[in-house]
Every structure is written in C-alpha cells, then in structure tokens.
C-alpha cells in the first residue's frame, strides 16, 4: 500500500510536471500521436486552406456559386492529398526489395490512395454538375455574390464528409456524433428519472 509519504511525494512530483506550458510546447505535444498525417485531409490543415481556396477559385471560375466553389475546394484538397500520398510511396518503393515492411506499408498507402481517389471523383462529378453560371446576367451582381467575404473555407469544412470517408474515419466525425448522442441519451434518462416515468428497459414484468 502507498504510504502517506509516498503519496505526498507523488503529488509534489505531479505538480512539477503538468505537461507543456508554452504555446510552442503545446503545439509540439499536439503532434505526438501524429505518424504521417496522410489520413488527414488538407482541408484540415490551416497552412494549406488558403492555397486550396485560391486554387479552387481559379478552378471554379470567377463567377462560380458557393456549390461550385465547395466542389472545387474538395477537388483541390483531394488532389493535394493524392500527391502527398504518391510522394510518400517513393522512399518505400526504393527500398521495397530490401525491406519486407516496405511492401506492407505500400499496400497501406494504396488503401489511403483509394479513399482519396474516391473523394476526388465525387468532387469532380459535383463540379461538373454545378456548372459555371452563364454570363448573361449582370457580371457585377454575380461577382458580388461570390465575393471573398461570402466564400468561407470553414463552411467547406463544416459540411458533412462523404459516406466512404465517414466509414474510414477520415474526418473523425463519428466520435463527435457519438458523444453528442450519448449526452442526449443521458439527458433523456435524467428527465425520465425526474418525472418518475419508468424506462422502457426497466419495466417490471
């Protein structure tokens, strides 16, 4: 059993080490679990979102509506992810003959590539479906509609990911949804116990 003295020492030590304190330290510790980052969409990377938006604007055209711009953002992000994955394959391909694990890792990257290609295909189809508006209306009005203030990259991120991506946990939306659902269930249970209503599962027979 832990003595009082040991317990006090543990508490003292714990106070001395409470994780990183500086912003730089916290940023570094936040990446502790990161292995390669290839499963995270470029849309999640703040350093890349500006470039994605710029490229998407060029791709969608100056008079694109929000739907077309969103599809273009997704397409550009998927293309960037695809290029990252293909670049990550190179060192593995180079040592595949000597290193047995390299082929296994290549097969894993192949799976990531399939997911990204699927997202890109879907974005490409949406971009094709959301055709650029015809320039028959007032160009000024159309440009006003798609001004920089209106185009919000965060809106692209807020939109639900595709079914495939959710299944693979690509955007990690599932844990958030599950926790939200759990707290809703807890709230319901609490309400029931306060009102004295028996739960469906606890009805005496």
């Amino acid at each position: 059993m832990t003595s009082m003295r040991q317990r006090a020492a543990n508490r003292r030590n714990a106070r001395a080490s409470t994780g990183p304190r500086t912003a730089a330290g916290k940023a570094r510790a936040a990446q502790n679990a990161r292995k390669h980052g290839l499963r995270v969409s470029s849309l999640r990377d703040p350093a890349k979102t500006r470039n994605i938006a710029e490229l998407a604007r060029k791709l969608a055209g100056p008079m694109a509506d929000a739907q077309r711009f969103t599809a273009a953002c997704r397409l550009v992000a998927a293309q960037i992810d695809l290029l990252d994955i293909r670049e990550a394959r190179l060192p593995l391909l180079a040592r595949a003959l000597d290193d047995r694990t390299a082929i296994k890792r290549l097969a894993t990257l192949d799976r990531y590539e399939s997911d990204v290609r699927s997202l890109r295909k879907s974005a490409m189809r949406k971009l094709d479906a959301a055709r650029a508006p015809a320039s028959t209306g007032s160009a000024e009005a159309i440009l006003r509609e798609t001004s920089d203030d209106e185009i919000d990259i965060a809106a692209v991120l807020r939109q639900p990911a595709s079914r495939t991506a959710r299944r693979r946990g690509r955007f990690e939306t599932r844990p958030l949804r599950t926790s939200a659902r759990l707290s809703a269930n807890e709230a319901n249970l609490r309400k029931r116990s306060q009102s004295g209503k028996p739960s469906k599962n606890n009805v005496a027979t």
């Binding site: 394959r89 082929i103 296994k104 097969a107």
Partner: protein
C-alpha cells in the same frame, strides 16, 4: 520586337509544362525518365486534354500505367533476389555446402551453374521448382504486389471512364447552350405584348 514562340504541338509537349495541378512526376533513382516522357507524349497525343480536370485525369492514366510497369518489374526483381535462398533450400538435401553453392550460382559462376544444373537434374527437379520455392517463401509480398497492380489497372480504367464522362457532360452543356441560343422562345405578336 521578339517574335513569339510557336505553340508546341501536343506530341512535343513535355510533362513539365503541364504540372501545375498534377505535381511533378514521381520517378525513382535509375528509372528511365525518357521512357516516362515518351509514354506521356503518346497518351497526351491520343487523349488531348481540354481542361484542368482532363489534365489531372490524363496524368493519372500515365502515372498508373507507369506504376503497373514499375510494380511488375519489382515483382520480377524480388523473385530473382529470393531465388538464391530458394536455391539453397532446394539444394540442401542434394549437395553439401548448398548455401555457398547457391551464392556462387547467384553470381553466375560457370562451374557452380554446371554443378547446380547437374544436381537438380539428378533429383528430377528444374528451375521451376526453385522459383516455386521462392514464391512460397514470399507469397504474402507477391500477393500484395499483385493486388497493387490490379488496383493500379482498375484506377487507370476508372480515370479513362471519368474523362469520357466529363467530356459527355461538357458536350451536353454545349448542346443545351446552343439549343437555348437557337430557340429564343415563343414569338412576340407584332406591336404588342403576348397575351
């Protein structure tokens, strides 16, 4: 004033000129860049991409075709590399010093090659047996490579289908636009508004 350079034909276009959206080609050390460029020129001459999306997809077709070649080469090299161990394994019950003999055979030592062939023949075996042993030893790796080759081939045909679909969608858009221009709506009665 300097004359503007003549536009390059599709076949002359090098991959580097159209890499903004598709990235640089992923080449390994020792790979034949000219072979890649030739493949790119052949595919682009046939497909003639019209926009960025087609360019992306065409680059996919080229890269994936290159990948298939690369993976097939890797599979053959892997089989060749593992053949030495497999030869040593096959020779072990037939001759003494099987490992050393297999090493020499792998280095194409003429005397060793002769001894190996004689030993295999005496036991009623052939090089097929050795290759089968090599394949069995690394079956998981070969399966993975085969799966990657199949994936690359599927992706290549998907990219081609996507180009076709994209072109059909664009053609439909053009048809709609020309139909709307040709048919301006019901005729207006002269000197008054339509009732």
């Amino acid at each position: 004033m300097n004359p503007s350079p003549a536009p390059a034909s599709t076949a002359d276009r090098t991959p580097v000129q159209r890499r903004n959206w598709a990235g640089e080609p992923t080449m390994l050390l020792g790979e034949d860049a000219d072979g890649y460029n030739e493949l790119f020129a052949q595919v682009s001459a046939r497909l003639i991409p019209n926009d960025v999306l087609e360019d992306m997809l065409m680059r996919d077709v080229v890269d994936l075709a290159w990948d298939v070649r690369r993976l097939r080469r890797m599979k053959a090299n892997l089989l060749r590399l593992r053949a030495r161990n497999a030869m040593s394994e096959v020779l072990a019950p037939l001759v003494s010093g099987a490992y050393a003999l297999a090493e020499k055979w792998s280095a194409r030592d003429a005397a060793a090659v002769g001894r190996v062939e004689a030993a295999l023949e005496s036991a009623g075996l052939s090089m097929d047996t050795v290759m089968a042993a090599a394949l069995r030893a690394e079956i998981d790796e070969f399966e993975r490579i085969d799966a990657m080759i199949a994936d690359a081939e599927n992706r290549r045909s998907t990219a081609l289908s996507e180009i076709e679909r994209h072109r059909a969608s664009f053609a439909q858009e053009l048809r709609d636009a020309t139909a709307a221009a040709a048919d301006p709506g019901p005729p207006q009665p002269p000197g008054g508004e339509a009732v």
